[in-house]
């Protein structure tokens, strides 16, 4: 029979009390075991969200920066207004004037211009329904990769157009629905069939139903070879946009020149929005950390306090017994050791229970006690989905590893020793003569 046996036998004297204390301790220890890995899991999820946001912000920024260096050049629309008919109704038409290759050559020669991209826009009728056709050059792969904004942005089905495509077309969702055409089917316009390779999401409810195809195909379809309606002039630097715009206007005074600087403002808005979302996620992360730390602190204090009070009570209750042990020749160290051991045994038994509880209740308890990592949604009209669960809550996923279990045992031993240190010290310092008189 050693100190360990004595300590264990003493604890088993008051079984109900020991059981209640073990249950209370195990609940506190469960929190101590579960919360640190839960905080880490919550932080990792939130950090992923922040990284996603930052990555998307960088992508949007680079895309918008490219768009911000863009200047759209076109001639003013010509209105053909014949006299009103008998009923007094006008049946006029708006014509977008065409530009030939000389415009391309002149625009390309302007200093600080990196690229000039010809675009042809034509409105044709299919079954008396107006279809806005948008032709972009698909003969230059590097141009498409440098300026992705040339291509439709929001493909919801199929694929986007790519360099080398011919007789392929992308239909805007509304148009596809109107003519009941899906990816892989043919779309006939002006007597020519095009293969539908993708569907583009509707940009706005009142947007014109449009279709995008290669410039060469559209020129051939509309007999406008070598002619364009718009030139997209890409400047080497956003700072030179105004200078280049002025030069274009000086060469072609009637030309409508639309600089993409406005894009810069919307980029700023998007950046601000993403910054706010990052800040929200960061606050969320801090909240997870803060709440977790407060809850751990409460659990630690509760755990140590339970041991402290139960051991103090035990020492008070056993004053005569401690006096007897001292009268029999027990040293202060022996008394201290036995009481410390009793506290540690209580705590270690509670740790076993706590680990068993933790294995089963770690995920729900973590999600009950900690704020969930929140994702803020999408970057508005840019259509980028941010995170894995935009606009929703992500549950914290936590598992109790063997390392966590070992740590739980270590913590239990430490708390048991800390909690019983003062009562044990008090017991060791008991004056045996006074203890023997204690009733």
């Amino acid at each position: 029979m050693g100190t360990l046996t004595r300590a264990t036998k003493n604890l088993s004297r008051r079984k109900t009390r020991a059981l209640i204390v073990i249950i209370a301790l195990s609940l506190a220890l469960t929190l101590v075991i579960i919360l640190p890995p839960s905080i880490n899991a919550g932080k990792a999820t939130t950090q992923t969200i922040i990284n996603d946001l930052n990555n998307n912000a960088n992508f949007i920024k680079s895309t918008v920066s490219a768009a911000a260096t863009e200047i759209d050049c076109s001639l003013p629309i010509q209105l053909n207004l014949p006299p009103p008919n008998a009923t007094g109704t006008f049946h006029g038409t708006a014509i977008q004037p065409l530009m030939n290759e000389s415009y391309y050559a002149n625009l390309t020669s302007i200093p600080d211009v990196n690229n000039v991209v010809p675009i042809l826009e034509q409105t044709e009728y299919k079954d008396n329904y107006p279809v806005y056709l948008y032709g972009i050059p698909l003969d230059n792969a590097s141009l498409l990769s440098s300026y992705p904004s040339l291509l439709p942005a929001n493909i919801t089905e199929g694929r986007n157009l790519q360099a080398g495509d011919n007789n392929d077309i992308i239909l805007e969702e509304h148009l596809a629905q109107k003519f009941d055409v899906s990816v892989g089917r043919n779309f006939n316009i002006l007597g020519k069939n095009f293969t539908v390779v993708g569907i583009e999401g509707q940009e706005a409810l009142n947007a014109t139903a449009h279709a995008t195809l290669s410039l060469a195909d559209l020129q051939a379809l509309t007999n406008t070879a070598g002619q364009e309606t718009t030139f997209k002039v890409f400047v080497d630097n956003v700072d030179n946009v105004e200078t280049v715009s002025a030069r274009i206007t000086s060469i072609y005074p009637t030309m409508q020149v639309s600089a993409g600087l406005s894009q810069e403002n919307s980029a700023q808005e998007i950046q601000t929005s993403i910054d706010e979302q990052v800040q929200t996620a960061q606050n969320n992360l801090n909240q997870i950390q803060g709440n977790g730390e407060v809850e751990i602190s409460i659990a630690v204090v509760a755990d140590i306090a339970i041991i402290l009070f139960i051991m103090l009570y035990s020492v008070r209750e056993r004053t005569r017994e401690i006096g007897t042990l001292k009268a029999m020749g027990a040293s202060n160290a022996t008394i201290l050791g036995q009481l410390l051991l009793e506290g540690v045994i209580l705590s270690v038994i509670a740790a076993v229970v706590a680990i068993a509880i933790s294995v089963f209740v770690a995920p729900p308890l973590a999600n009950l006690l900690l704020p969930h990592p929140i994702e803020s949604g999408t970057a508005g009209s840019w259509g980028f989905s941010i995170g894995r669960n935009p606009g929703g809550n992500n549950l914290i996923s936590v598992t109790i590893t063997p390392e966590t279990m070992l740590l739980g045992f270590g913590v239990a031993v430490l708390f048991g020793a800390l909690g019983s240190l003062y009562p044990a010290w008090k017991a060791a310092r008991t004056n045996p003569a006074e203890a023997m008189r204690y009733e």
């Binding site: 004595r6 007897t324 040293s331 202060n332 023997m436």
Partner: protein
Amino acid sequence: MSDLVLEIENLTKTYKLGKREIQPLTNLNLEVQRREFTAIMGPSGSGKTTLLNVIGCIDKASSGKVLIDNVDIAKLPESKLYKIRRDKIGFIFQNFNLLPYLNARENVELAMELAGKFQSQRGERAKQLLATVGLSGREQHRPQRLSQGEQQRVAIARALANDPAIVLADEPTGNLDVANKQEIVKLLADLNQKQGTTIIMVTHDEQVAAQTNRMLYLSEGKISEDKLVQQVTPQQSKESSQE
């Protein structure tokens, strides 16, 4: 030839009770021979238990000398006093003070365990001691399953476990009925006579005291009467020297 196990010179014990200063022992002198069975008597508050506590190293003398086997315990620090309590003293209490979660054998063994004795030595010795006090077959019983007389026997066996120089008994029969009282006194007297155990016993009971070698009366912190009841017999000396 004198064989003193205890020598007390000018022992004074003072302590404060609130603002009042109490002096239960005043310049007390006493010598106790080895193998002597001494009874200390006196009215309540005369200092009997205080004297026993000072001899048993569980209370400190305010002044004077207390020599046990020629070691002045009044000057020893706590770090050494516990060894005197463990090796030189055996306590028997009025309320038995057995550890309730240990059985009879374990209670006896505990005293030896504190003295650092090995399990092999402890088990056999505990069994022998329990047999000596008449508790053969009751080794595994916990205190609550023993009668009061039996509990006091276990306490006596525990007090003898480390073969102490002095057994201090504080009213060992105070909580016992007449039959048990006589049996316990007889047991103590037998231990004294047959094994030569030195016993100092505090009692209020004249009949119990009459079974000892010597009766001391304490009054106002001093020994007012020192009465020899019977000499330490040669048999006591012989048997104890054989051990």
